[in-house]
Amino acid sequence: MNADRIKEKSFEEAISRLEKIITELEQGEQTLEDNLKLFEEGIALARHCRSKLDEAQGKVEILLGIKEGIPQTEDFQPHGEEEV
Protein backbone atom coordinates (compact mmCIF):
# COMPACT_ATOMS: atom_id res chain seq x y z
CA MET A 1 0.00 0.00 0.00
CA ASN A 2 1.78 3.13 -1.07
CA ALA A 3 1.05 6.64 0.04
CA ASP A 4 -0.43 7.76 -3.28
CA ARG A 5 -3.09 5.13 -3.14
CA ILE A 6 -4.05 6.21 0.36
CA LYS A 7 -4.37 9.82 -0.76
CA GLU A 8 -6.87 8.81 -3.40
CA LYS A 9 -9.15 7.25 -0.82
CA SER A 10 -12.30 9.02 0.31
CA PHE A 11 -12.70 9.63 4.01
CA GLU A 12 -15.14 6.77 4.28
CA GLU A 13 -12.92 4.33 2.41
CA ALA A 14 -9.96 5.30 4.55
CA ILE A 15 -11.93 4.94 7.78
CA SER A 16 -13.25 1.53 6.85
CA ARG A 17 -9.74 0.31 5.86
CA LEU A 18 -8.39 1.68 9.13
CA GLU A 19 -11.07 -0.21 11.03
CA LYS A 20 -9.98 -3.44 9.30
CA ILE A 21 -6.32 -2.85 10.06
CA ILE A 22 -7.03 -2.27 13.74
CA THR A 23 -9.03 -5.48 13.93
CA GLU A 24 -6.20 -7.42 12.28
CA LEU A 25 -3.62 -5.92 14.60
CA GLU A 26 -5.79 -6.69 17.60
CA GLN A 27 -6.01 -10.30 16.52
CA GLY A 28 -2.26 -10.22 15.90
CA GLU A 29 -1.94 -13.32 13.79
CA GLN A 30 0.55 -11.94 11.28
CA THR A 31 4.30 -11.88 11.37
CA LEU A 32 6.04 -8.99 13.05
CA GLU A 33 6.95 -7.58 9.68
CA ASP A 34 3.38 -7.76 8.36
CA ASN A 35 2.13 -6.21 11.57
CA LEU A 36 4.54 -3.33 11.28
CA LYS A 37 3.47 -2.80 7.68
CA LEU A 38 -0.18 -2.76 8.77
CA PHE A 39 0.61 -0.33 11.53
CA GLU A 40 2.41 1.98 9.13
CA GLU A 41 -0.52 1.86 6.73
CA GLY A 42 -2.90 2.55 9.62
CA ILE A 43 -0.91 5.59 10.67
CA ALA A 44 -0.90 6.88 7.08
CA LEU A 45 -4.66 6.34 6.81
CA ALA A 46 -5.34 8.12 10.10
CA ARG A 47 -3.17 11.01 8.99
CA HIS A 48 -5.03 11.10 5.68
CA CYS A 49 -8.40 11.18 7.46
CA ARG A 50 -7.21 13.90 9.79
CA SER A 51 -6.08 16.00 6.84
CA LYS A 52 -9.55 15.62 5.32
CA LEU A 53 -11.11 16.91 8.53
CA ASP A 54 -8.60 19.73 8.83
CA GLU A 55 -9.03 20.96 5.28
CA ALA A 56 -9.64 24.65 4.85
CA GLN A 57 -13.20 25.89 5.00
CA GLY A 58 -15.10 24.85 1.89
CA LYS A 59 -16.32 27.28 -0.71
CA VAL A 60 -19.90 28.47 -1.11
CA GLU A 61 -20.58 29.35 -4.72
CA ILE A 62 -23.46 29.89 -7.06
CA LEU A 63 -23.64 28.37 -10.52
CA LEU A 64 -24.08 30.97 -13.23
CA GLY A 65 -24.08 28.54 -16.12
CA ILE A 66 -21.97 26.04 -17.94
CA LYS A 67 -19.86 27.33 -20.80
CA GLU A 68 -18.22 24.76 -23.05
CA GLY A 69 -18.46 22.15 -20.32
CA ILE A 70 -16.86 24.37 -17.68
CA PRO A 71 -19.11 25.53 -14.81
CA GLN A 72 -19.12 29.30 -14.36
CA THR A 73 -19.42 30.14 -10.67
CA GLU A 74 -19.01 33.02 -8.27
CA ASP A 75 -18.93 33.27 -4.49
CA PHE A 76 -22.33 33.20 -2.92
CA GLN A 77 -23.60 35.03 0.12
CA PRO A 78 -27.19 34.27 1.12
CA HIS A 79 -29.45 37.20 1.92
CA GLY A 80 -29.66 38.11 5.55
CA GLU A 81 -26.31 36.45 6.31
CA GLU A 82 -23.99 39.36 5.65
CA GLU A 83 -20.55 38.94 7.11
CA VAL A 84 -19.88 40.93 10.25
Partner: protein
Protein backbone atom coordinates in the same frame (compact mmCIF):
# COMPACT_ATOMS: atom_id res chain seq x y z
CA UNK B 1 -107.95 15.10 17.47
CA UNK B 2 -104.55 15.44 15.90
CA UNK B 3 -101.52 14.37 17.94
CA UNK B 4 -99.88 17.28 19.71
CA UNK B 5 -96.06 17.18 20.02
CA UNK B 6 -93.93 18.98 22.48
CA UNK B 7 -91.17 21.01 20.81
CA UNK B 8 -88.65 18.60 22.20
CA UNK B 9 -90.55 15.64 20.77
CA UNK B 10 -90.80 17.18 17.30
CA UNK B 11 -87.15 18.26 17.30
CA UNK B 12 -86.11 14.84 18.45
CA UNK B 13 -88.19 13.29 15.64
CA UNK B 14 -86.61 15.54 13.03
CA UNK B 15 -83.16 14.87 14.45
CA UNK B 16 -83.79 11.15 14.07
CA UNK B 17 -84.95 11.60 10.46
CA UNK B 18 -82.03 13.79 9.44
CA UNK B 19 -79.32 11.87 11.20
CA UNK B 20 -80.39 8.50 9.84
CA UNK B 21 -80.45 9.75 6.25
CA UNK B 22 -77.64 8.02 4.30
CA UNK B 23 -76.84 11.07 2.15
CA UNK B 24 -76.76 13.51 5.02
CA UNK B 25 -74.51 11.26 7.07
CA UNK B 26 -71.52 11.91 4.79
CA UNK B 27 -71.90 14.94 2.60
CA UNK B 28 -69.52 17.29 0.75
CA UNK B 29 -70.52 20.92 0.30
CA UNK B 30 -68.74 23.70 -1.57
CA UNK B 31 -69.13 27.35 -0.65
CA UNK B 32 -67.55 30.42 0.82
CA UNK B 33 -66.74 30.87 4.50
CA UNK B 34 -68.36 33.72 6.42
CA UNK B 35 -68.83 34.65 10.08
CA UNK B 36 -65.79 32.59 10.98
CA UNK B 37 -65.06 32.40 14.71
CA UNK B 38 -62.46 30.42 16.56
CA UNK B 39 -63.80 29.82 20.07
CA UNK B 40 -61.42 29.77 23.03
CA UNK B 41 -62.27 26.07 23.36
CA UNK B 42 -60.54 25.52 20.01
CA UNK B 43 -63.75 24.70 18.13
CA UNK B 44 -64.50 26.59 14.93
CA UNK B 45 -67.95 28.05 14.14
CA UNK B 46 -68.72 29.47 10.72
CA UNK B 47 -71.18 29.62 7.85
CA UNK B 48 -70.65 28.28 4.37
CA UNK B 49 -72.71 30.16 1.81
CA UNK B 50 -73.31 30.67 -1.86
CA UNK B 51 -75.33 33.47 -3.48
CA UNK B 52 -78.67 31.98 -2.45
CA UNK B 53 -78.25 29.94 0.72
CA UNK B 54 -76.22 29.50 3.85
CA UNK B 55 -75.28 26.52 5.98
CA UNK B 56 -74.20 26.65 9.62
CA UNK B 57 -71.02 24.68 10.30
CA UNK B 58 -69.05 23.59 13.32
CA UNK B 59 -65.60 22.02 13.24
CA UNK B 60 -64.41 20.67 16.55
CA UNK B 61 -60.89 21.00 17.82
CA UNK B 62 -60.06 17.31 17.34
CA UNK B 63 -60.78 17.66 13.63
CA UNK B 64 -59.51 21.16 12.95
CA UNK B 65 -56.13 20.36 14.48
CA UNK B 66 -55.22 18.55 11.27
CA UNK B 67 -56.02 21.49 8.97
CA UNK B 68 -53.12 22.56 6.78
CA UNK B 69 -54.47 26.06 6.22
CA UNK B 70 -56.07 28.80 8.23
CA UNK B 71 -59.80 29.15 7.35
CA UNK B 72 -60.98 32.72 7.01
CA UNK B 73 -64.00 34.65 5.80
CA UNK B 74 -64.32 34.79 2.05
CA UNK B 75 -62.27 31.65 1.47
CA UNK B 76 -63.82 29.17 -0.96
CA UNK B 77 -63.78 25.73 0.61
CA UNK B 78 -65.07 22.22 0.27
CA UNK B 79 -66.30 20.88 3.58
CA UNK B 80 -67.21 17.31 4.38
CA UNK B 81 -69.09 15.89 7.34
CA UNK B 82 -72.56 15.00 8.64
CA UNK B 83 -75.71 17.05 8.99
CA UNK B 84 -77.14 17.16 12.48
CA UNK B 85 -79.71 19.13 14.42
CA UNK B 86 -78.81 21.07 17.50
CA UNK B 87 -81.99 21.02 19.62
CA UNK B 88 -81.04 24.03 21.77
CA UNK B 89 -81.59 26.51 18.94
CA UNK B 90 -83.53 24.27 16.58
CA UNK B 91 -81.06 24.67 13.82
CA UNK B 92 -79.55 22.09 11.58
CA UNK B 93 -75.83 22.33 10.93
CA UNK B 94 -72.92 20.59 9.29
CA UNK B 95 -70.50 18.86 11.67
CA UNK B 96 -67.35 19.35 9.59
CA UNK B 97 -64.79 16.54 9.64
CA UNK B 98 -62.66 17.61 6.66
CA UNK B 99 -62.07 20.93 4.98
CA UNK B 100 -59.92 21.79 1.94
CA UNK B 101 -59.52 25.05 0.04
CA UNK B 102 -61.80 24.67 -2.99
CA UNK B 103 -59.04 25.01 -5.59
CA UNK B 104 -57.03 22.33 -3.85
CA UNK B 105 -59.68 19.65 -4.04
CA UNK B 106 -59.01 19.11 -7.72
CA UNK B 107 -55.24 19.36 -7.17
CA UNK B 108 -55.49 16.64 -4.58
CA UNK B 109 -57.16 14.32 -7.06
CA UNK B 110 -54.45 15.01 -9.66
CA UNK B 111 -51.78 14.35 -7.01
CA UNK B 112 -53.23 10.96 -6.16
CA UNK B 113 -53.53 10.02 -9.83
CA UNK B 114 -49.92 10.96 -10.67
CA UNK B 115 -48.55 9.26 -7.57
CA UNK B 116 -50.33 6.06 -8.47
CA UNK B 117 -49.22 6.15 -12.08
CA UNK B 118 -45.53 6.81 -11.32
CA UNK B 119 -45.51 4.22 -8.56
CA UNK B 120 -46.82 1.79 -11.15
CA UNK B 121 -43.79 2.61 -13.31
CA UNK B 122 -41.51 1.75 -10.40
CA UNK B 123 -40.19 5.30 -9.98
CA UNK B 124 -40.27 5.07 -6.20
CA UNK B 125 -38.89 1.55 -5.80
CA UNK B 126 -36.51 1.25 -2.87
CA UNK B 127 -34.13 -0.72 -5.13
CA UNK B 128 -33.66 2.37 -7.32
CA UNK B 129 -32.58 4.56 -4.41
CA UNK B 130 -28.97 5.70 -4.55
CA UNK B 131 -26.90 5.64 -1.38
CA UNK B 132 -26.33 9.01 0.28
CA UNK B 133 -22.56 9.49 0.78
CA UNK B 134 -21.53 9.58 4.44
CA UNK B 135 -19.06 12.39 3.91
CA UNK B 136 -19.73 14.30 0.67
CA UNK B 137 -17.05 16.59 -0.75
CA UNK B 138 -19.30 18.95 -2.68
CA UNK B 139 -23.06 19.37 -2.43
CA UNK B 140 -25.30 21.00 -5.01
CA UNK B 141 -28.28 22.92 -3.64
CA UNK B 142 -31.12 23.36 -6.11
CA UNK B 143 -33.43 26.04 -4.80
CA UNK B 144 -34.16 29.72 -4.97
CA UNK B 145 -30.99 31.72 -4.19
CA UNK B 146 -33.09 34.30 -2.36
CA UNK B 147 -35.21 31.99 -0.23
CA UNK B 148 -34.93 30.98 3.39
CA UNK B 149 -34.12 27.39 2.42
CA UNK B 150 -30.72 28.15 0.91
CA UNK B 151 -29.80 30.25 3.91
CA UNK B 152 -30.78 27.51 6.36
CA UNK B 153 -28.91 24.81 4.46
CA UNK B 154 -25.71 26.84 4.14
CA UNK B 155 -25.80 27.85 7.80
CA UNK B 156 -26.24 24.30 9.06
CA UNK B 157 -23.69 22.71 6.72
CA UNK B 158 -21.20 25.39 7.74
CA UNK B 159 -21.81 24.69 11.41
CA UNK B 160 -21.64 20.91 11.19
CA UNK B 161 -19.00 20.36 8.56
CA UNK B 162 -17.29 23.52 7.27
CA UNK B 163 -14.88 21.65 4.95
CA UNK B 164 -17.65 20.72 2.52
CA UNK B 165 -17.98 22.76 -0.68
CA UNK B 166 -21.44 24.04 -1.55
CA UNK B 167 -22.71 25.04 -4.96
CA UNK B 168 -26.05 26.80 -5.21
CA UNK B 169 -27.76 25.89 -8.47
CA UNK B 170 -30.42 28.57 -8.72
CA UNK B 171 -33.93 27.63 -9.77
CA UNK B 172 -37.41 29.07 -9.52
CA UNK B 173 -39.33 27.06 -6.95
CA UNK B 174 -42.84 28.38 -7.52
CA UNK B 175 -44.92 29.71 -10.35
CA UNK B 176 -45.53 28.55 -13.85
CA UNK B 177 -41.89 28.51 -14.96
CA UNK B 178 -40.72 26.61 -11.87
CA UNK B 179 -40.97 23.01 -13.15
CA UNK B 180 -38.90 23.80 -16.19
CA UNK B 181 -36.41 25.77 -14.14
CA UNK B 182 -36.00 22.89 -11.67
CA UNK B 183 -35.54 20.33 -14.46
CA UNK B 184 -32.90 22.54 -16.06
CA UNK B 185 -31.08 22.92 -12.73
CA UNK B 186 -31.09 19.13 -12.26
CA UNK B 187 -29.69 18.71 -15.76
CA UNK B 188 -26.94 21.28 -15.08
CA UNK B 189 -26.11 19.62 -11.75
CA UNK B 190 -25.47 16.39 -13.63
CA UNK B 191 -22.72 18.03 -15.67
CA UNK B 192 -20.90 19.85 -12.88
CA UNK B 193 -17.80 17.83 -12.06
CA UNK B 194 -17.14 16.89 -8.45
CA UNK B 195 -20.67 17.07 -7.10
CA UNK B 196 -21.53 14.00 -5.08
CA UNK B 197 -24.88 14.93 -3.57
CA UNK B 198 -27.84 17.17 -4.37
CA UNK B 199 -30.38 18.82 -2.14
CA UNK B 200 -33.51 20.00 -3.92
CA UNK B 201 -36.23 21.93 -2.17
CA UNK B 202 -37.69 25.10 -0.82
CA UNK B 203 -39.07 26.53 2.39
CA UNK B 204 -42.65 26.29 3.55
CA UNK B 205 -45.48 27.77 1.54
CA UNK B 206 -49.06 27.31 0.55
CA UNK B 207 -50.05 24.08 -1.06
CA UNK B 208 -50.19 25.85 -4.44
CA UNK B 209 -46.65 27.13 -3.93
CA UNK B 210 -45.34 23.67 -3.12
CA UNK B 211 -47.22 22.19 -6.04
CA UNK B 212 -44.25 22.54 -8.38
CA UNK B 213 -42.74 19.57 -6.58
CA UNK B 214 -45.71 17.45 -7.65
CA UNK B 215 -45.05 18.23 -11.29
CA UNK B 216 -44.54 15.11 -13.35
CA UNK B 217 -41.47 16.42 -15.21
CA UNK B 218 -39.80 17.50 -11.98
CA UNK B 219 -40.54 14.17 -10.32
CA UNK B 220 -39.12 12.28 -13.30
CA UNK B 221 -36.02 14.49 -13.44
CA UNK B 222 -35.36 13.81 -9.75
CA UNK B 223 -35.87 10.07 -10.16
CA UNK B 224 -33.52 9.87 -13.14
CA UNK B 225 -30.84 12.18 -11.74
CA UNK B 226 -27.46 10.40 -11.76
CA UNK B 227 -26.51 11.94 -8.40
CA UNK B 228 -28.09 10.99 -5.08
CA UNK B 229 -30.83 13.50 -4.21
CA UNK B 230 -32.22 14.61 -0.86
CA UNK B 231 -35.58 16.35 -1.14
CA UNK B 232 -36.53 19.06 1.31
CA UNK B 233 -39.85 20.62 0.43
CA UNK B 234 -41.73 22.85 2.86
CA UNK B 235 -42.44 21.64 6.36
CA UNK B 236 -42.52 18.28 8.02
CA UNK B 237 -46.21 17.77 7.17
CA UNK B 238 -45.82 18.53 3.47
CA UNK B 239 -45.44 15.41 1.37
CA UNK B 240 -44.77 15.90 -2.32
CA UNK B 241 -44.24 13.36 -5.07
CA UNK B 242 -40.68 14.66 -5.45
CA UNK B 243 -40.14 13.39 -1.90
CA UNK B 244 -41.13 9.93 -3.07
CA UNK B 245 -38.82 10.05 -6.08
CA UNK B 246 -35.82 11.41 -4.15
CA UNK B 247 -33.29 9.03 -2.63
CA UNK B 248 -33.96 10.48 0.79
CA UNK B 249 -36.71 12.80 2.08
CA UNK B 250 -35.84 15.45 4.60
CA UNK B 251 -38.65 17.02 6.64
CA UNK B 252 -37.29 20.55 6.04
CA UNK B 253 -34.32 22.23 4.31
CA UNK B 254 -32.53 22.42 7.68
CA UNK B 255 -33.19 18.72 8.14
CA UNK B 256 -31.71 18.05 4.71
CA UNK B 257 -28.50 19.84 5.69
CA UNK B 258 -28.25 17.73 8.82
CA UNK B 259 -28.78 14.54 6.86
CA UNK B 260 -26.33 15.57 4.13
CA UNK B 261 -23.19 16.14 6.18
CA UNK B 262 -21.71 14.48 9.24
CA UNK B 263 -20.84 16.54 12.26
CA UNK B 264 -17.12 17.24 12.03
CA UNK B 265 -16.74 17.14 15.79
CA UNK B 266 -18.21 13.65 15.85
CA UNK B 267 -15.87 12.49 13.06
CA UNK B 268 -12.87 13.92 14.91
CA UNK B 269 -13.90 12.07 18.03
CA UNK B 270 -14.32 8.85 16.08
CA UNK B 271 -10.95 9.25 14.37
CA UNK B 272 -9.23 9.99 17.66
CA UNK B 273 -10.69 6.83 19.12
CA UNK B 274 -9.45 4.81 16.17
CA UNK B 275 -5.95 6.28 16.37
CA UNK B 276 -5.90 5.32 20.03
CA UNK B 277 -6.96 1.79 19.20
CA UNK B 278 -4.40 1.55 16.41
CA UNK B 279 -1.62 2.60 18.74
CA UNK B 280 -2.59 0.27 21.53
CA UNK B 281 -3.08 -2.62 19.12
CA UNK B 282 0.42 -2.05 17.77
CA UNK B 283 1.85 -1.82 21.28
CA UNK B 284 0.11 -5.00 22.33
CA UNK B 285 1.40 -6.73 19.22
CA UNK B 286 4.96 -5.64 20.03
CA UNK B 287 4.48 -6.73 23.63
CA UNK B 288 3.42 -10.18 22.47
CA UNK B 289 6.44 -10.47 20.19
CA UNK B 290 8.73 -9.29 23.00
CA UNK B 291 7.32 -11.91 25.35
CA UNK B 292 7.98 -14.54 22.76
CA UNK B 293 11.54 -13.28 22.39
CA UNK B 294 12.08 -13.36 26.15
CA UNK B 295 10.77 -16.87 26.31
CA UNK B 296 13.21 -17.94 23.64
CA UNK B 297 16.10 -16.14 25.29
CA UNK B 298 15.54 -18.20 28.43
CA UNK B 299 15.89 -21.40 26.47
CA UNK B 300 19.15 -23.35 27.43
CA UNK B 301 20.43 -23.22 23.88
CA UNK B 302 20.71 -19.49 24.00
CA UNK B 303 21.47 -19.16 27.70
CA UNK B 304 24.50 -21.63 27.78
CA UNK B 305 25.37 -22.51 24.24
CA UNK B 306 28.73 -24.20 25.16
CA UNK B 307 27.21 -26.66 27.52
CA UNK B 308 24.64 -27.51 25.01
CA UNK B 309 27.33 -27.97 22.38
CA UNK B 310 29.42 -30.27 24.62
CA UNK B 311 26.48 -32.50 25.20
CA UNK B 312 25.86 -32.62 21.51
CA UNK B 313 29.54 -33.47 20.81
CA UNK B 314 29.44 -36.36 23.22
CA UNK B 315 26.31 -37.61 21.63
CA UNK B 316 27.93 -37.47 18.20
CA UNK B 317 30.82 -39.60 19.49
CA UNK B 318 28.43 -42.14 20.92
CA UNK B 319 26.61 -42.38 17.67
CA UNK B 320 29.93 -42.72 15.79
CA UNK B 321 31.08 -45.61 18.00
CA UNK B 322 27.81 -47.38 17.61
CA UNK B 323 28.06 -46.99 13.89
CA UNK B 324 31.59 -48.43 13.79
CA UNK B 325 30.51 -51.39 15.94
CA UNK B 326 27.63 -52.16 13.71
CA UNK B 327 29.70 -52.00 10.55
CA UNK B 328 32.41 -54.23 12.00
CA UNK B 329 30.08 -56.97 13.16
CA UNK B 330 28.37 -56.93 9.82
CA UNK B 331 31.72 -57.30 8.06
CA UNK B 332 32.65 -60.29 10.22
CA UNK B 333 29.38 -61.99 9.55
CA UNK B 334 29.88 -61.48 5.83
CA UNK B 335 33.38 -62.93 5.94
CA UNK B 336 32.22 -66.11 7.73
CA UNK B 337 29.42 -66.57 5.26
CA UNK B 338 31.87 -66.21 2.38
CA UNK B 339 34.13 -68.92 3.79
CA UNK B 340 31.23 -71.31 4.22
CA UNK B 341 30.23 -70.73 0.66
CA UNK B 342 33.77 -71.32 -0.62
CA UNK B 343 33.92 -74.73 1.15
CA UNK B 344 30.59 -75.75 -0.37
CA UNK B 345 31.81 -74.63 -3.76
CA UNK B 346 34.99 -76.71 -3.38
CA UNK B 347 32.99 -79.85 -2.55
CA UNK B 348 31.13 -79.53 -5.82
CA UNK B 349 34.26 -79.06 -7.95
CA UNK B 350 35.16 -81.87 -10.47
CA UNK B 351 38.76 -81.63 -9.21
CA UNK B 352 37.59 -82.92 -5.83
CA UNK B 353 36.04 -85.93 -7.63
CA UNK B 354 39.34 -86.60 -9.42
CA UNK B 355 41.10 -86.52 -6.06
CA UNK B 356 38.80 -89.32 -4.95
CA UNK B 357 40.22 -91.55 -7.82
CA UNK B 358 37.89 -90.86 -10.71
CA UNK B 359 39.24 -89.76 -14.09
CA UNK B 360 37.80 -88.00 -17.08
CA UNK B 361 38.29 -89.37 -20.59
CA UNK B 362 38.19 -86.99 -23.52
CA UNK B 363 38.64 -87.41 -27.25
CA UNK B 364 42.03 -86.13 -28.29
CA UNK B 365 40.66 -84.75 -31.55
CA UNK B 366 38.18 -82.30 -30.12
CA UNK B 367 38.39 -82.67 -26.35
CA UNK B 368 34.80 -83.96 -26.07
CA UNK B 369 34.15 -85.97 -22.89
CA UNK B 370 33.58 -89.61 -23.61
CA UNK B 371 30.58 -91.02 -21.74
CA UNK B 372 29.86 -94.26 -23.69
CA UNK B 373 32.21 -96.86 -25.20
CA UNK B 374 30.51 -96.45 -28.58
CA UNK B 375 31.70 -92.84 -28.83
CA UNK B 376 35.25 -93.97 -29.66
CA UNK B 377 36.64 -96.42 -32.13
CA UNK B 378 39.60 -98.77 -31.60
CA UNK B 379 42.86 -97.07 -32.53
CA UNK B 380 41.50 -93.60 -31.61
CA UNK B 381 43.51 -91.52 -29.18
CA UNK B 382 41.98 -90.24 -25.96
CA UNK B 383 43.27 -88.10 -23.11
CA UNK B 384 42.54 -89.28 -19.58
CA UNK B 385 42.56 -86.53 -16.99
CA UNK B 386 43.67 -87.64 -13.52
CA UNK B 387 43.78 -85.87 -10.22
CA UNK B 388 47.31 -84.96 -11.01
CA UNK B 389 48.53 -85.19 -14.63
CA UNK B 390 47.06 -86.68 -17.80
CA UNK B 391 47.47 -89.81 -19.81
CA UNK B 392 47.34 -89.98 -23.59
CA UNK B 393 46.07 -93.46 -24.51
CA UNK B 394 45.14 -95.39 -27.62
CA UNK B 395 41.88 -97.35 -27.53
CA UNK B 396 42.46 -101.09 -28.05
CA UNK B 397 38.85 -102.19 -27.91
CA UNK B 398 35.49 -100.58 -27.24
CA UNK B 399 33.20 -102.84 -25.20
CA UNK B 400 29.70 -101.43 -25.43
CA UNK B 401 27.79 -102.29 -22.29
CA UNK B 402 24.94 -101.19 -20.00
CA UNK B 403 24.97 -97.64 -18.82
CA UNK B 404 26.81 -97.57 -15.52
CA UNK B 405 24.54 -96.57 -12.75
Amino acid sequence: MPKIFTVTQLTSYLKGLVESDPILRQVWVQGEISNFTLHSSGHMYFTVKDDQARLRCVMFRTENRRLKFQPADGLAVIVGGRIGIYPKNGEYQLYVEQMEPAGVGSLYLAYEELKKRLAGEGLFDPDCKKAIPGFPRKIGIITSPTGAAVRDIIRIVRRRCPVVDLLVIPAQVQGEAAPRSLCEALRLAGSVPGLDLLIIGRGGGSIEELWTFNDEEVVRAVASCPLPVISAVGHETDFTITDLAADLRAPTPSGAAEMAVPELRELRRRLLLMEERLRSAALQMLERKRNLLEFMEKHPVLREPHRWLDERRQRVDEIWDGLVRTVQSRLEKARAALERNLAALDALSPLATLRRGYSICRKKVDGRIVREAGEVSPGEKVRVLLSRGELVCTVEEAEKGEKTR
